[in-house]
């Protein structure tokens, strides 16, 4: 298949999936977000053809059933992985659409995740496994900028700089401990315990930025959040201008501009509006 044919296939599959998910979820994605999703898939293939073109079992659902939470709730843990079996070794990939920097910062969580997955794959199923890795597909801002310009050279060089693959040391330790923690979270979810992380957490650094900037600024619900309010406004009685800045901050300027441009191109403003008396 030629490159164009593959791109066309990707786009077709993407549109089909989009339409189906749109109906299932009952809502659409705005044009900019939709475009970003498509770019993520294409960039993944361009960056990691050795993986994308060689995966042997894709999106395999694995599950650890029949667990009990501390409050005796029954649950099972589920995950989806991609497997690449070659003659001499087998890799397990966990493809993630979220932030690579966040993954690095919370490597422990991802280690545990892949440990549980390998426990299921190797321990319960008795399959081969030599390496495990996270593929963090969120595109770095520089690459996103390059894609917006459409400048092939820049896109290529930014793609070259990007490193989505994070190998996780392969280990089957701590599985019991992880399952126990998982059960505690299940209890908290079922008991409706949903308080936001504390101010201290929001001040923690992730890849040079604070949690409150890197994570919260990406969350639409931040305006109604106690912790974010403290983080962004400091005092409980902010000045008028501080409050204005806080509430009108819709994210990094480039993203906001990209949002307007992409969506405007797909907007058809009506000449007149028909209404029935």
């Amino acid at each position: 298949m030629t490159e164009e044919e593959i791109l066309k296939e990707i786009e077709e599959a993407f549109n089909l999936n989009y339409e189906r998910l749109r109906l299932e979820g009952g809502h659409a994605l705005t044009e900019d977000i939709k475009r970003l999703a498509l770019q993520m898939v294409i960039r993944y293939w361009k960056k990691m053809p050795d993986v994308a073109e060689k995966v042997t079992d894709t999106e395999v659902k694995i599950s650890l059933p029949e667990q009990r939470s501390p409050k005796r709730r029954k649950f099972s843990i589920e995950g989806i992985v991609d497997i690449l079996k070659e003659e001499d070794e087998t890799w397990m990939y966990d493809i993630k659409t979220h932030d690579g920097k966040y993954v690095e910062k919370h490597l422990r969580d991802y280690e545990k995740q892949l440990n549980v997955y390998s426990h299921i794959w190797k321990g319960l199923r008795g399959e081969e496994l030599d390496h495990t890795a996270v593929v963090a597909l969120s595109l770095p801002p520089q690459l996103r900028d390059a894609l917006r310009t459409g400048d092939e050279k820049r896109i290529e060089s930014e793609t070259a700089k990007w490193n989505p693959l994070i190998e996780i040391p392969f280990d089957q330790k701590h599985v019991d401990e992880t399952i126990k923690e998982f059960g505690q979270v299940v209890d908290r979810i079922e008991d409706n315990v949903f308080s936001p992380p504390t101010l201290a957490t929001l001040k923690e650094k992730i890849g040079g930025e604070q949690f409150g900037t890197r994570i919260c600024l990406n969350c639409d619900a931040r305006f109604s959040c106690r912790s974010y309010r403290k983080f962004a406004l400091g005092s409980s009685s902010p000045t008028i201008s501080a409050f204005k800045k806080y509430i009108e901050d819709l994210g990094p300027e480039a993203d906001v501009e990209g949002w307007t441009t992409d969506n405007l191109e797909h907007s058809e403003i009506p000449e007149a509006v028909d209404i029935e008396a």
Partner: protein
């Protein structure tokens, strides 16, 4: 084939002890199977284990199974349940199973699959799938004047209002000229024709009635127009099924694609669905249907209960074999007297056919309770006027909660034939609230009249301004104007208490004023230089425009943006320059959308309090409602215009489109809510549900809120459809009575532990005859005599298979931020800018397709 595990091992492991009939149904895997499943008879378990049996012990590939359910939620639960069971098998036998390609879902979603499935496509290329309109999209499509006028013209009417009158009289029996009403009637009629597979050209030959002939022309025009929508046509839910059937009929191999066809809730299927099922089952003849004619509820949506009642005969006709019938008759849900009561009830109607040959019902079921608890479990109020009945029942409810006979008020359900404008629902609600109890009644009134909706839309009106419109107003519009006024009054009240909010509104209004002014400036400049809207836009024009005198800083900034400069030049190079119109919009557009405004408004105390309460398990109601509002706003952006520009604000176009068109339509359609996937009933509140909503559910305690529904005459659509198809069915004059029997049967069979029936008496108080008979018979236990100590405590929801949690989208998401988890995952808020589930699924599924592409190509080479 599994080696080291048997079905019985698995039953033991999951503590499942099937009764004789259940076991027989699970093990019966050859040929057509007819399962009648009474209330609480464990049919979901039977379906689950039977499917497992097929996959694991009979080697049926999951992709060769077709399993349709009534709702997506049911499909989801089945798939999750199967996954859990199969993973236990895998862990034992090391044999993996992949359910991804199994066709399990509603008939609609499986039809969609069929349309995009290469196995059904004649040239085995990936077929082009039409866009699917859901109900609201279908409505807006038809309501749009350009579309509606084309359809009206097809009828031969010159005058629109006269045509609307004709539609409304013929289908709705009301003499009205309203387009909204006509569109609503046309939808009912068109959908029915599609579901009956009526060919409008053939049908015209069968009728001389000029109006019906006109309606058939309109239907023909509608379905043809839809098929020509860009890029690959469009279908509504009903036409989707017809389209799938067409594809199957074109392809002989389709009959063999599925080895097993399994259909749940068969009593609520329609004609085109029946044709689909038999077509798919023709090759292997393995069709298994499950259902209960006594619980048929959806005639008004075109369902024909005869599909189930006459299944044995139909099976012979289509497949040439008689199905094996197994009755799942044991009720595991309810205490003895509840079962006795609803069984007695359903027999108080004469179901015999007019010709004396058989029944309009599967009459020989042997429904019985599994429970051995024969203590009182059905109790009526003391007969009396409504006020007394309300207070007596509320008193009982209070005691039930106080004595911890339920774990949460949401375990007590009030069920009504219909909730909208119902005096009994209102009376119970007031009485409960008077006693300090909270009610969750999403369908009791209009969703838009709830506090959260009035607050948000009122504040929207304060920001954008209330659209002006001039009379004379129809009654609907008058009511709607009153609603808009209520909203602004309410919003004013909120803003009066919140200085920051007041300031925010003023800022937003200034911003809108600013872009409007910029728009005027640019228009004047453009006029002076004689530029036209459509002319290609050059870099030079950009520079000149940015210098236009009087332009605000923000517009200048937008025009001078490096990014914009670059895109303009690139488009010039590609010989696809922007039009002036686009640039004008770019310079005068807001960088926020209606959804952003929603999230910003939630920063203020009135809304923040709701979040704070939900975070600590206090009250979930308001957040459920706010989540629904985000869905409506996102839909507006999807169907109309996502971006707010000055040209959109000009002439109040946005205000009109948003308030007088979109929200007004929701208001008139009395939109209530989306189907909730997980947890429909918020904690801490007593749910008020329609009986339809309660289908398939169970509650420890049920109060039948209103024991009356009139036996309506059959609809015109029903009559016309019968005349055109020549299909018979239940006698048209008895339809109303039969439907009401079945509806109350559903209500009476929902409770596990206690059923409470109000006994209204006095002038104007009417109770449906069979219920009245039973109340009057004298052996009915009354609330004052009821000993609450005999009522068992409700157990917590027993989830026998447990829930599945995803490591990534549950555990890690929760660990990152429990609050974000709650808002987007639990309450399903539609995000404005952040990426959530939808985004992730879209990327993952496309990557899966990409991998498959390479896997297939490797296989070929």
């Amino acid at each position: 084939m599994a080696k080291s595990v048997t079905l019985k091992d698995l039953w033991a492991e999951f503590d499942f002890k099937p009764n004789k009939n259940q076991e027989e149904a699970i093990l019966q895997v050859d040929g057509p199977l007819f399962l009648t499943a009474g209330p609480g008879s464990g049919k979901t378990k039977v379906l689950l284990w039977r499917t497992l049996n097929l996959i694991v012990f009979h080697g049926v590939e999951p992709e060769r199974i077709f399993l349709s359910t009534f709702t997506e939620k049911a499909a989801h639960q089945l798939r999750e349940g199967l996954k859990t069971l199969l993973s236990v098998v895998t862990n034992r036998t090391r044999q993996p199973f992949d359910l991804a390609k199994m066709s399990v879902g509603t008939v609609h979603s499986i039809c969609q699959r069929i349309l995009s499935d290469r196995r059904f496509s004649p040239d085995s290329k990936r077929p082009r799938t039409p866009r699917l309109f859901d109900e609201l999209e279908q409505y807006f499509y038809l309501y749009k004047p350009s579309n509606w006028n084309r359809i009206l013209e097809a009828s031969g009417f010159a005058d629109q209002e006269a045509c609307n009158h004709m539609v409304n009289l013929t289908i709705g029996r009301e003499d009205k000229g309203s387009r909204h009403v006509a569109v609503t009637n046309a939808i009912t009629f068109f959908n029915r024709l599609s579901e009956e597979c009526v060919d409008p050209i053939e049908a015209k030959k069968k009728t001389r009635d000029p109006d019906i002939r006109r309606l058939l022309d309109m239907y023909r025009c509608y379905s043809r127009d839809l098929s020509m929508e860009k890029p690959f046509g469009a279908v509504d839910f009903s036409l989707l099924q017809q389209k799938a059937l067409d594809i199957l009929n074109q392809n002989h191999a389709a009959e063999h694609v599925y080895e097993h066809v399994i259909v749940d809730e068969y009593q609520d299927t329609n004609t085109v669905q029946e044709l689909l099922f038999f077509k798919l089952a023709r090759g292997n003849r393995n069709i298994c249907i499950v259902g209960d004619d006594d619980q048929a509820l959806y005639r008004f949506r075109g369902a024909t209960v005869e599909n189930l009642v006459e299944f044995e005969q139909r099976c012979k006709t289509y497949l040439g074999v008689k199905p094996k019938r197994i009755g799942l008759d044991t009720n595991y849900r309810s205490r003895q007297l509840i079962v006795k009561h609803y069984t007695d009830f359903i027999n108080r109607c004469n179901w015999r056919r007019e010709d004396g040959k058989g029944y309009h019902r599967v009459h020989d079921k042997k429904i019985r309770a599994h429970s051995s608890d024969g203590k009182p479990s059905v109790v009526a109020s003391t007969p009396g006027p409504p006020e007394d009945v309300f207070s007596e029942i509320v008193g009982l409810v209070k005691k039930i909660i106080r004595q911890k006979k339920v774990a949460d008020p949401n375990q007590i359900a009030f069920l009504f034939p219909s909730l909208k404008g119902n005096a009994k629902a209102k009376g119970f609600k007031e009485a409960l609230e008077g006693a300090g109890l909270k009610v969750y009644a999403p369908r009791a009134g209009r969703f838009l009249e709830l506090d959260e909706a009035e607050a948000i839309f009122g504040l929207f009106m304060l920001v954008f301004g209330k659209p002006k419109s001039e009379g004379p107003f129809s009654q609907d519009l008058m009511k709607y104007h009153q609603w808009m006024k209520d909203c602004t009054d309410f919003a004013d009240g909120i803003a009066a208490k919140d200085k920051q909010l007041k300031g925010f509104i003023a800022d937003k209004r200034r911003e809108l004023e600013l872009v409007r002014k910029d728009y005027e400036v640019i228009k004047a400049f453009v006029k002076r230089d004689r530029w036209s809207d459509e002319m290609p836009f050059t870099s030079d024009m950009r520079r000149r425009l940015a210098e236009a005198p009087g332009l605000s800083f923000r517009a200048k900034k937008a025009l001078n943006s490096k990014y914009l400069q670059m895109v303009i030049e690139q488009r010039m190079k590609e010989k696809d320059p922007f039009k002036l119109k686009y640039i004008v919009n770019r310079a005068t557009s807001l960088d926020w959308s209606v959804l952003d405004l929603f999230y910003q408004l939630n920063a203020f105390k009135y809304f923040r309090d709701f979040y704070d309460a939900a975070e600590v398990d206090k009250d979930e109601g308001p957040l459920c409602n706010l989540g629904i509002i985000t869905g409506y706003l996102a839909r507006f952006m999807d169907q109309f215009v996502p971006i707010i520009t000055a040209s959109y604000l000009d002439d109040e176009k946005l205000q009109k489109q948003f308030f007088l068109s979109y929200i007004y339509a929701l208001y008139r359609r009395e939109e209530s809510e989306f189907e909730d996937q997980d947890d429909p009933f918020p904690k801490g509140r007593i749910p008020f549900l329609t009986i339809h909503q309660a289908k398939g559910l169970e509650f420890p305690v049920v109060v039948l809120g209103n024991p009356r529904k009139r036996n309506w005459e059959a609809s015109e659509t029903e009559k016309i459809a019968r005349a055109l198809t020549g299909r018979g069915g239940e006698p048209i004059e008895r339809i109303g009575e039969f439907d009401n029997m079945r509806m109350f049967y559903v209500a009476l069979s929902r409770p596990k532990n206690l059923l409470v029936i109000p006994h209204f008496r006095g002038t104007g108080q009417v109770t449906s005859p069979p219920l009245k008979q039973m109340l009057d018979e004298g052996d009915m236990l009354r609330i004052p005599e009821f000993d609450l100590r005999t009522l068992p405590e409700a157990d917590h929801d027993s989830e026998d298979l447990g829930k599945n949690y995803s490591y990534t989208s549950d555990y890690l998401l929760y660990k990152k931020c429990p609050r974000q988890y709650m808002i987007f995952r639990k309450y399903g808020f539609v995000p404005s800018r952040s990426q959530t589930m939808f985004f992730g699924s879209l990327v993952h599924e496309t990557i899966e397709d990409l991998h498959h592409l390479f896997i297939e190509n490797r296989g070929k080479s």
